[in-house]
Symmetry: none
Subunit: 185 residues, 4 copies
DNA sequence: CATGAATGAGTGTTCATTCAT
DNA sequence: TATGAATGAACACTCATTCAT
């Protein structure tokens, strides 16, 4: 039932937007009643937060898989794998992603966005350590921060503003090159 | 009067958050009445949109000034100037910037965010043309897109999540190096 | 408008009972809208509290008038006047009085019931002082407490449970005699 | 099971107040389920009514014992015994007594409050008959009514508003004297 | 008989918007 | 033109009651 509610809210946020996500609409789309919402969640924000948490878990899983695969690859190939993962993550559900990033303040779910970013930044840092001898950057924390937000900034824009964006393949190539040059330039 | 209303809304969004920005609160802080709000704006969204437009104009002005100064500089120096401008732009009013980016959907103001980004992207593209012979990138549209979102992604995160961010000087150095290497690598 | 709202609530409490006093019903009977209720009162309890306060003011006024008239009368005549006032007070609006005493906890309006009782007890005490030489009771505070609640207890029951009550004239006689004997016995 | 439910509701009304007495809270405190509540009671009001009935039975038992003991005593001693019983009755559970008298309308349980009062009034009347020759009051029904509500009014206030009340011993003395004088004055 | 998840009508409250003054 | 009282649809949330298991 928790799943049913979260999924209904997910779909409403993605397809109908944040304003449509009233408790009555959620119950309706979940095929249940408002009362049941409150049997499983303390309030509406908690439902939205659960959706956000689940979406972030999905994003995290895509990235984690990529980090796992990238381990052992040569730097450029690994970088490409991670850039591609970021694109894939944004393509999981661009509509939900947009609604969450544009309408759901951190305050609803104080830990989750930070947790996601901190987790990925940590994974990047750890991944970079394997290539330390090849890198010109020396402060790996800063490097992880820059790589994370550089890739996130470009892929987020590329997927969410598709109309005026170069094609994804191109984005992948450019980002890969940029990151590699940044790290080894 | 339009100015008074926009400024009051600006302050509320920055200091009290989106939820506090009711029409009554806006009128109160503007020293006027709700009725007058509707003499100058068709609805509440239009007021928020005006704030957003004005903030975007400010951001645009900071960037335009930087482009103006950067013209004629050597590539690296120009790049540094533009990166610094992006940091300055995010520092104009980080609280308002956060509220607008986290709570005000594009749909409120369909054109303004796009206009800002398109405008800056165009300026970047135009700026790049002056250095065409030095660049290894060939598709200047793609390059402008990548530079814009790379710099925006990193500076946005750096200014809004200050607690876990390397210091701004470092960010400036890294971004400048990254962009230069991307363009000329 | 405050008056209109209080009066409508008054009537609902008296005629339809506490359960009927929803904000929508109040607005309807006041010929206004729920929104207007909240322009004049912070919440529903405050409306009920205002009715209670007004009713208590009416009760207090009836008693005050009686104390004023009773001053200077011989003890028995004065006592009769006060007893009659208590009956009159309960007859002002027995239905409202019942609903308030049976359904509206002190907690809704922490001061008002106490204020009323304390005020009247003080007036009784003050009134007794004029007869001090004729009284056999010595502790006037205790006497005032006993007289207040003795008269209130009997008149409240007499008016609110009319069906099984001796006629009011009889109650008046008996209470007058009781009080006089208590004070001078 | 009926007992368990009634006792749980009793405790909630006394310790947590009327607002806390939801069916779920009752079931929880009774160590059962809401479903079982409805196996033994037709609705929530019936549960509260049962508590009221049981409390009234307890009050009645205290009074009945006193009437039993008072039979045969001289008038003043008997009166003191009954006054004391009224104080004892209010002390059985003042918190429950307050909640029931302030929040539970007669309508919930149309017969019980009347039954209690009628019963006691009848016992008073019957008790008075034994002293008929010593009494100056002639209408024993009226006398019973007056004595009942006089004593109830003062003892109720004395026990429930303890902070601003003379001490109980004093109340007992005063009430005893008043009643005796009323009956024999 | 007992359970407790499910129900949904109903609640108090908010707030963008209107319009008589 | 400016006002702010009035509006009422919409909201999040509660809780007595039901009924499939």
């Amino acid at each position: 039932m928790v799943d049913v509610i979260v999924e209904a809210t997910w779909k409403i946020l993605a397809e109908e937007g944040y304003a449509a996500a009233s408790t009555n609409r959620i119950a309706e789309r979940a095929g249940t009643s408002v009362g049941s919402l409150y049997q499983y969640f303390p309030n509406k924000d908690a439902i939205v937060a659960a959706v956000q948490r689940r979406h972030h878990a999905d994003l995290g899983a895509v990235m984690a898989a990529a980090f796992s695969e990238a381990a052992g690859m040569p730097l450029e190939q690994a970088t490409r794998r991670l850039v591609r993962a970021s694109l894939e993550a944004h393509l999981l559900d661009p509509d939900l992603h947009r609604t969450l990033s544009e309408r759901v303040a951190d305050s609803v779910n104080p830990e989750t966005r930070e947790t996601l970013k901190t987790g990925i930044q940590g994974q990047i840092r750890h991944w970079l350590e394997a290539y330390r001898d090849d890198l010109t950057v020396t402060d790996l924390d800063t490097a992880a921060f820059v790589v994370l937000h550089m890739v996130e900034g470009v892929t987020h824009a590329a997927i969410l503003d598709q109309e005026q964006t170069p094609d994804p393949q191109r984005i992948e190539d450019e980002l890969t090159a940029t990151v590699v040059r940044y790290l080894t330039g």
